[in-house]
């Protein structure tokens, strides 16, 4: 009991899912709202994945939609073209969907490794150019690949990504990112971000940690892509254009770069906002743009300003834990940790 009181998220996260599920079932949230909820979840995962590279490791990936498209197309290739899932039992469908999703993630991770290996050994902004190029190359390949529909796009993807799987995937991603950041790997990555030379001097294998973060990020992007494909049920190469990558960058920087909670909040708000603005028709995207400018002008550190929700119990990374189930740090306030905190601040 005491343990649950200290960790209320164990109850609250499943409750959130149950609430969403009931809202969906009773029709309180119609398909349109559910679609936005699920799209927001996928955007959260993409933003978290980008946060690992841009926020934690301090590299810049500006073609993340490329990895998403790899995951989306490979998984859809399996479920739609190679195997006809529609005539299988729901259980088999689910198994194939999950395997295809993991396979999509692995393919994206392999691409991430191939792209990251040569470039992450270098210091500087080479990764930005290479990821940008990678995104465009993938898009051009998909356009001419007739097996996945080419420029016509891929239709008839079965709707396998239900609210449950997307929700579970978001929670898993949040905790995977939290654990990664709190682990020695994450600390090494943050050291690289803050000062590459100092990190090198301390004996951190810089390119290795950069590649680990980048490959993990690509894997998450690939899995998000698969979820996206099986939710929207239509893929078109131009969906994963440079503009899509920019969207994720905007979510990340508007939410608060380097923070998990910031990524979550940024992606959620900026996915829901354009849909809420549908009421003002023609001025929709104008207002959206103005709001973005205002956020960046008056809150350079992002909506969340690098803070973290307390329930994540971040030991490192976040500047400050706020809101949601007060978390008292159980760390021994050793001189090093308080010094570290001051440095971060």
């Amino acid at each position: 009991m005491k343990w649950i009181r200290r960790n209320p998220e164990v109850v609250f996260i499943p409750l959130l899912y149950v609430a969403l599920y009931i809202a969906q079932r009773t029709g309180f949230f119609n398909n349109y709202i559910m679609q936005i909820v699920m799209l927001a979840c996928i955007n959260i995962c993409m933003t978290l994945s980008l946060n690992l590279v841009n926020g934690i490791t301090g590299q810049s990936s500006i073609g993340h939609a490329g990895f998403m498209s790899v995951g989306a197309y490979t998984s859809a290739l399996i479920t739609t073209i190679m195997l006809d899932v529609s005539c299988m039992s729901p259980f088999m469908q689910l198994v194939i969907f999950l395997l295809a999703t993991v396979f999509g993630g692995v393919c994206a991770a392999i691409c991430g490794y191939l792209v990251g290996m040569p470039t992450l050994r270098l210091r500087g902004d080479y990764l930005a150019i290479v990821t940008l190029g990678f995104g465009e190359v993938i898009r051009s390949i998909i356009r001419i690949a007739d097996v996945v529909g080419g420029a016509r796009g891929l239709t008839g993807i079965p709707k396998l990504a239900s609210l449950f799987w997307i929700f579970a995937f978001v929670i898993l991603t949040i905790y995977a990112c939290r654990n990664f950041i709190d682990s020695s790997y994450g600390r090494a990555c943050m050291a690289i971000r803050d000062n590459e030379i100092a990190a090198d001097t301390m004996g951190i294998n810089i390119s290795r940690y950069k590649i680990i973060a980048f490959v993990l990020s690509a894997f998450i992007a690939g899995v998000s892509g698969s979820m996206y494909a099986h939710m929207i049920r239509y893929l078109h190469p131009d969906v994963f254009s440079y503009a899509k990558s920019t969207d994720f960058l905007v979510y990340l920087y508007a939410g608060g770069v380097g923070s998990i909670s910031g990524s979550v909040i940024g992606a959620t708000i900026l996915t829901v906002l354009p849909e809420m603005l549908r009421a003002i028709a023609n001025w929709r995207l104008v207002i959206y743009g103005i709001l973005l400018v205002l956020i960046i002008l008056f809150r350079q550190e992002g909506i969340f300003g690098g803070k973290e929700f307390a329930f994540l119990k971040m030991k490192t990374g976040g500047i400050q834990n706020i809101g949601f189930f007060k978390f008292r740090r159980k760390l021994k306030k050793s001189p090093e940790t308080s010094a570290q905190e001051e440095v971060i601040q």
Partner: protein, 404 residues
């Protein structure tokens, strides 16, 4: 840490066992009972509501904003016509028709959001648009599942109506357009060497170039150069045009969206290529001669599904021109026709709901600006292709080519 994750996962999996199997069917579930439930109750007498909501999906912002404006204007004209009449006359009762307009930004995922909103939030009876094939395919899956009839004005790709039996189109299809251009070039213009400049990133453009190529080669012509560029952002076509120039074709076919046409044509003439210019229905935009330059466009031919000079179109063209100050494009004309096909179907429908209107739409048999319209079994209109030539900056009727 591990305990938290373990407990959370077990909780989630317990929930999964309970909920997951029912999940995949749930998106269709809210729609399914509503749709068959409605026609059963009023089976004997037709229930006519006071107000009917129709949806319009159009590219108000984004890469094809010109088409979006043309389309929205056409719908404005339709609703003003209806207002003047005091509403749509359904079995003697005046029904108010209101349009809900949604932007698709020319992106399939936004189109999916928009169609969900129209169906779930606004509960529209039928949807007109969107104006391009990719978005219509993406959104069509949703309207098909929800049994809401959808009619695209200019989604010419063959795959559009293959999505399902609730998806219609008002225009001619890409393969047929390509065949008309090929036939016209080979039979009427006696051209045996042609080149193509197309966008391989675009469904419309690549589909048209393919059907033109196949038809033209089947007739006995040769494609001397088949050059592609990638995406709407390409503004410099000199690499492709140099190859085309060296191949020395007698005619060049440009199956691209309207945004790219002016630059392509100007650059073609700028390089000193004198071949005949051939176009497709996207060229049907009244301001094109002024955008491109009248001297550049002089003598160019294009095929479309609508001729503003035809007797049946005169009335519509005049009304449209008086209201908005420009001649209606193919896109406007098709949006106007799509709206009228839906309105006409509502008047004839046995029940005012998705399935009822769909059945009435499939049985459409009416006169519209482009001529008499009927649907074939694949919900494509049976229409002839019209060839126009630009003379003195105005597109003039040359000939009609019938479907075989």
């Amino acid at each position: 840490m591990k305990r938290i994750l373990c407990l959370m996962l077990t909780l989630c999996f317990v929930l999964a066992v309970g909920c997951a199997p029912a999940q995949p069917s749930s998106p269709a579930a809210p729609a399914a009972p509503a749709a068959p439930g409605a026609p059963e109750a009023p089976a004997s007498s037709k229930v006519i509501p006071d107000e009917i909501k129709l949806g319009l999906m159009s590219t108000i912002s984004g890469g094809q904003a010109i088409d979006g404006k043309n389309m929205t204007d056409a719908i404005t004209l339709v609703s003003e016509e209806l207002e003047a009449l005091g509403g749509l006359d359904v079995d003697g009762k005046k029904v108010k028709i209101s349009w809900v307009i949604e932007d698709t930004e020319a992106k399939p995922e936004i189109a999916v959001n928009a169609v969900q909103k129209l169906i779930e939030q606004d509960k529209v009876l039928a949807i007109v648009g969107p104006n391009n094939s990719g978005e219509t395919i993406a959104s069509g899956e949703i309207s098909q599942a929800a049994k809401v009839p959808q009619i695209t004005n200019t989604g010419t790709n063959i795959k559009v109506t293959q999505v399902g039996d609730y998806i219609f189109r008002a225009c001619i299809i890409d393969p047929f357009q390509g065949i008309v251009v090929a036939k016209f070039a080979y039979d009427n213009l006696k051209i045996t060497k042609a080149a193509i400049l197309y966008d391989n990133a675009d469904t419309y453009s690549s589909g048209l170039s393919e059907s033109f190529k196949n038809a033209y080669e089947a007739l006995g012509g040769t494609i001397v150069a088949n050059e592609a560029y990638s995406g709407q952002d390409v503004k410099d076509f000199s690499a492709q045009l140099t190859i085309i120039k060296n191949a020395n074709p007698e005619a060049i076919f440009y199956p691209s969206h309207i945004e790219n046409i002016p630059l392509q044509l100007q650059q073609t003439r700028g390089m000193g290529i004198t071949a005949t210019l051939l176009g497709c229905d996207s060229w049907d935009y009244a301001a094109l001669p002024d955008l491109v330059g009248r001297d550049v466009l002089e003598g160019a031919y294009y095929v479309t599904g609508f001729s503003p000079d035809a007797d049946s179109a005169k009335d519509f063209v005049k009304k449209f021109n008086d209201r908005f100050g420009y001649r209606p494009s193919f896109c406007s004309a098709m949006a106007y026709e799509a709206a009228h096909i839906v309105l006409n179907a509502i008047q004839r429908a046995e029940t005012i709901d998705g399935p009822g209107v769909r059945d009435a739409m499939a049985a459409t048999d009416m006169d519209l600006p482009s001529g008499h319209v009927k649907f074939d079994e694949f919900r494509n209109p049976v229409k002839s292709g019209t060839v126009l030539q630009v003379r003195d900056g105005v597109a003039q009727y040359v000939t009609s080519i019938e479907p075989d």
